[in-house]
């Protein structure tokens, strides 16, 4: 591990370097008048706008609406996707029957179904939650199936030979063996769910961050739009990073494991 230290620092410095160069270029180009301030306001202006937005009660309502929709959809996506994934993964015949459908749904650009959801549920909370649930669900189902299939049969046989009962088999063999893949799948499911909520808000909505984005875009309010984008990027990356750390923590044993 020791010799890699120096290079680790270089990689880290490089990563931050990209962010700093990007931020500087953004700011300097704007100040020098090289970029159109109407189209790309300088970073400092965007950050100032972001600060105002965070103190703007109207925007905070939009943000809360969006976060609640994401939370509600993910609260369905995670357990339902895993449950379906486990059941299908455990039952080979069922897997043979439904796998093509799941693959088909995974491959389909599900955004095309949005108008149908609006007709079926009307514009609002239910429509957004159901639509983004569908967007996020299939990734989690596939991860659940993959997680079940990743448990080596030999490990199960060995565990039976030293006397596990059914409950112990599921809780003490299957669950820990599957945890890294489960978290990886939930991570993907969360990113897709967020995408689904924002898309449905941008397409047709009366509130939410996505709706605000469209309104700002239509009235050329670039500082607000850029500030909103920055905020959503930060929130999404933070959530994703948390799950990545969990995935790494529970999957430590996978390092060079066969």
């Amino acid at each position: 591990m020791k010799p890699a230290r120096r290079e680790d620092w270089l990689v880290l410095a490089g990563r931050f370097g990209i962010v700093i160069v990007f931020a500087l270029a953004w700011e300097v180009l704007g100040r020098m008048g090289k970029s159109d301030p109407e189209l790309l306001p300088p970073l400092s202006k965007v950050l100032a706008t972001l600060w105002q937005l965070l103190h703007d009660p109207d925007f905070m309502v939009d943000l809360r609406v969006t976060l609640v929709e994401i939370a509600a959809a993910f609260a369905i996506v995670a357990p339902l996707g895993l449950l379906i994934g486990f059941v299908v993964g455990e039952n080979q015949r069922l897997y043979d029957v439904v796998n093509p459908t799941i693959q088909l749904m995974m491959a389909t650009p599900k955004a095309i179904f949005l108008p149908i959801f609006i007709i079926a549920f009307g514009i609002g909370f239910t429509e957004k939650v159901v639509f983004s649930t569908m967007i996020g669900l299939f990734a989690v189902i596939l991860a659940g199936i993959a997680a079940v299939h990743s448990v080596p049969q030999g490990l199960v046989t060995a565990a039976r030979s030293f006397g596990v009962n059914r409950r112990q088999l599921y809780l003490q063999i299957y669950l820990p063996a599957m945890t890294p893949l489960i978290i990886g799948g939930l991570r993907l499911g969360l990113v897709f769910t967020i995408f689904g909520v924002l898309l449905s808000e941008m397409y047709a909505a009366s509130n939410g961050v996505g709706h605000a984005f469209v309104a700002w875009g239509e009235s050329y309010r670039m500082p607000e739009l850029m500030a909103g984008v920055l905020l959503i990027v930060v929130i999404t990356v933070a959530l994703d990073e948390m799950m990545r750390l969990a995935e790494e923590h529970y999957g430590k044993w996978r390092k060079s494991a066969r």
Partner: protein, 273 residues
Amino acid sequence: MEEVGAMTALAVAETKPGRTVIEAIGVSKLFGSSSGPVQALADISFSVGSGEFVTVVGPSGCGKSTLLQILAGLVPASSGTIVLDGQTIDGPRPDKVGVVFQDAWLLPWKTAIENIEFPLALRGVPTAERRARSQALLDLVGLGDSARRYPHELSGGMKQRVAIARGLVQEPSVLLMDEPFAALDEQTRTRMGAELLQIWERSGRTILFITHGLAEAIYLADVVLVMAANPGRIVERIPVTLPRPRTIDMIGSEAFGRLRNHIWHLISDRGPL
């Protein structure tokens, strides 16, 4: 079914005295396949006395792993009976049988000592007791210093030692081993064989050891059961009278060579390995 070898010169002594611990009576196994049922094992009968080291050798596909899984209660026999320590086997009996597989199958998220403790933890043995017993077994297999290491930090041979310790931790009267050293390089395999004999002598367990290596089968055994395929059956029961403790040098001896040739012909005259 217990034919004694034609090589009477070698088959002098009957096995060690002691009560019977494993008794297989007319064990058969049929598997369904796309082209109809396949007879994996046909009418297998043998017995193993307490403290004996029995090896089962045979060509691949002769059903020796299936036999072990039936003995371990992991797979039901189609017909016939297994009596272990006076009790008929109809499912895993971890208190009577420890199993070591070709792959160690340690739980990769647990340390070496936690892996050995695991079967005891399942039964609710108190932490202090199971830790002490597991550490003693780690010492026995020569890994006393590696208790806190994870499987991915252990070599293939070390993993198998942990698996052996785990097989012994519930103090079973029988240890079943399914080609436990087959995935190891030859040097490690030879050394592990010698160490297994020491562990066997110190622990006083009965061992049934499956292998496809003729030298390994003879070197370790009191009795070699030779199997043939299609259907899987025992063709000869060969007592090994080489003195104990066995040494690596014995593998080059004349008596050893004659035994090996005899088994070689038993197997190869019936078809390719």
